[in-house]
């Protein structure tokens, strides 16, 4: 509140916000150099949907925005073959809408398509990139990419690094985080039966931040035994994580009713979400455990 007795202006002139400069480098080395030159005063930008949202919520724009949108190598899809295995490379600049429309993603990686469908609205997805969603660190597509064993390819100024998604996301916290250049999806394993799902729980049916997101890819062999499982959960402000203990518990099991209770307890133990003014961590844990158990219950029925 303004105190009437204090002068409104002190001796020092007020600091005006510095106008933001936009840079549009045409290659990765140049983008990297710009970031090194301006350090913490610079920020990469792709679709800009998150940056614009944060700006409206009170986070000032960086003094230097380094737009990656003119770097052609970051765009589009490439079908790759690696030791007889089909892979899809998705450039980091590819919009979520283009990913959603991609016929290969629809056929081979439907849970990624499902995860994308749950991000924001069609208009936002027309601008939002898959790279921006990963670099957001809490993006809804992350759990799906984790269970699909997607690889993040990034550029650190000299070399291209290949990491799993969780390792790349951690690196985003660093001062000079590598530029995400692409995501590679390996063909998922097949077996007698596959249980795969992506679930997002929010306070409304659509277009709402997640309370919990869960993704799973499980292969069950002819004897009904779980022979491959990847399970991940996210939601809220905590970065999604693989649920390794729960995976280990389910591995090699022919599931019976009694296992579901143990699975429920394991999820409660190892899933560590954050609380916010709307949702406690305890509530998120309960939701995640319920969603996962109800999906695995289908295997028994």
């Amino acid at each position: 509140m303004v105190n009437e007795h204090e002068p409104l202006m002190s001796g020092k002139p007020p600091t005006l916000p510095v106008p933001t400069k936009i840079w549009r480098p045409s290659d990765l080395s140049e983008a990297w150099e710009l970031k090194r030159r301006y350090g913490s005063e610079a920020c990469y930008i792709t679709g800009g949907t998150l940056i614009q949202l944060q700006r409206e919520q009170g986070t000032p724009l960086a003094e230097h925005l380094i737009s990656l949108d003119k770097i052609n190598v970051l765009e589009g899809f490439d079908q790759l073959e690696d030791e007889g295995q089909f892979k899809l490379r998705i450039g980091a600049l590819t919009t979520l809408s283009d990913c959603h429309r991609n016929v290969f993603i629809e056929e081979y990686w439907p849970i990624l398509a499902e995860a994308i469908r749950h991000v924001a609205s069609p208009a936002v997805r027309n601008r939002a990139t898959i790279g921006g969603n990963v670099c957001y660190q809490v993006g809804d597509v992350i759990p799906a990419l984790m269970v699909l064993e997607a690889e993040a390819v990034s550029f650190d100024g000299t070399t291209y690094l290949r990491n799993d998604i969780a390792t790349y996301i951690q690196s985003v916290n660093g001062k000079d985080h590598p530029i995400l250049t692409s995501i590679t999806l390996p063909e998922p394993p097949v077996s007698a039966q596959v249980l795969s799902f992506f679930k997002k729980v929010g306070r409304r049916e659509a277009f709402i931040p997640s309370i919990v997101t869960v993704a799973c890819y499980t292969c069950i062999n002819e004897s009904g035994e779980v022979e491959y499982i990847r399970l991940a959960a996210g939601g809220g402000t905590a970065s999604p994580k693989r649920l390794y203990e729960s995976e280990r518990f389910l591995q090699k099991k022919v599931l019976v009713e009694e296992d579901l209770g143990r699975l429920y307890d394991l999820v409660l133990q190892e899933y560590v979400p954050a609380s916010d003014p709307f949702t406690t961590a305890e509530y998120r844990k309960t939701v995640a455990a319920n969603v996962i158990v109800s999906e695995f219950e289908k295997l028994i029925q």
Partner: protein, 172 residues
């Protein structure tokens, strides 16, 4: 010249850019800050006030316009991102003083009350029907999931789109 200076879109002291757009099929040039929001350029610089502003954060769809045929939120789009694009706003939807059939359907099916969400809704429906001329109810709900209406309860809006879908399926 320093290599990176070649890619900076503004000069050192003048924080504005020349923005070249095609708006509703007319070429337009404006000088604006590169981070200005497209919605403000449309409404304040170009007096195209049919595009509305409400939440300012991509949540309500009142500011929906088409950029190069795609639906986007003008409040989330910065000036430099719109440079050299072709934009359609609600003012460009009607032709020769004739309402677009989508606007007529909204009028006749009770697709609006206060009308604040309507320009954005019409833009979203236009994009939907160009992609899927005969959408299902599921398609309609998905396409309009980013457009909020505080008045109608959506019934009239969905009816308006279904009416368009029925007309489109007869034509086919």
């Amino acid at each position: 010249m320093d290599k990176s200076d070649a890619v900076n879109v503004q000069t050192e002291n003048v924080p504005v850019i020349d923005l070249n757009l095609t708006i509703n099929e007319n070429p337009v040039k404006v000088q604006v800050e590169p981070t200005a929001r497209l919605v403000d350029i449309l409404r304040d610089e170009l007096q195209l006030t049919g595009t509305k502003i409400s939440c300012g954060i991509g949540r309500c769809g009142a500011c929906s316009v088409m950029i190069d045929g795609q639906l986007v939120n003008a409040c989330l789009t910065m000036a430099y991102q719109a440079d050299q694009t072709s934009i359609t706003t609600i003012e460009g939807v009607s032709r020769d003083q004739e309402m677009d059939p989508i606007q007529k359907a909204f009028l006749e099916e009770g697709g609006f009350q206060c009308g604040y969400c309507t320009p954005g809704m019409v833009m979203a429906v236009k994009v939907l029907l160009e992609e899927v001329p005969v959408p299902t109810e599921e398609d309609i709900k998905m396409a309009l999931s980013g457009n909020l209406c505080r008045c109608t309860g959506y019934g009239g809006i969905i009816r308006a789109v279904q009416r368009m879908a029925a007309e489109n399926s007869e034509v086919r």
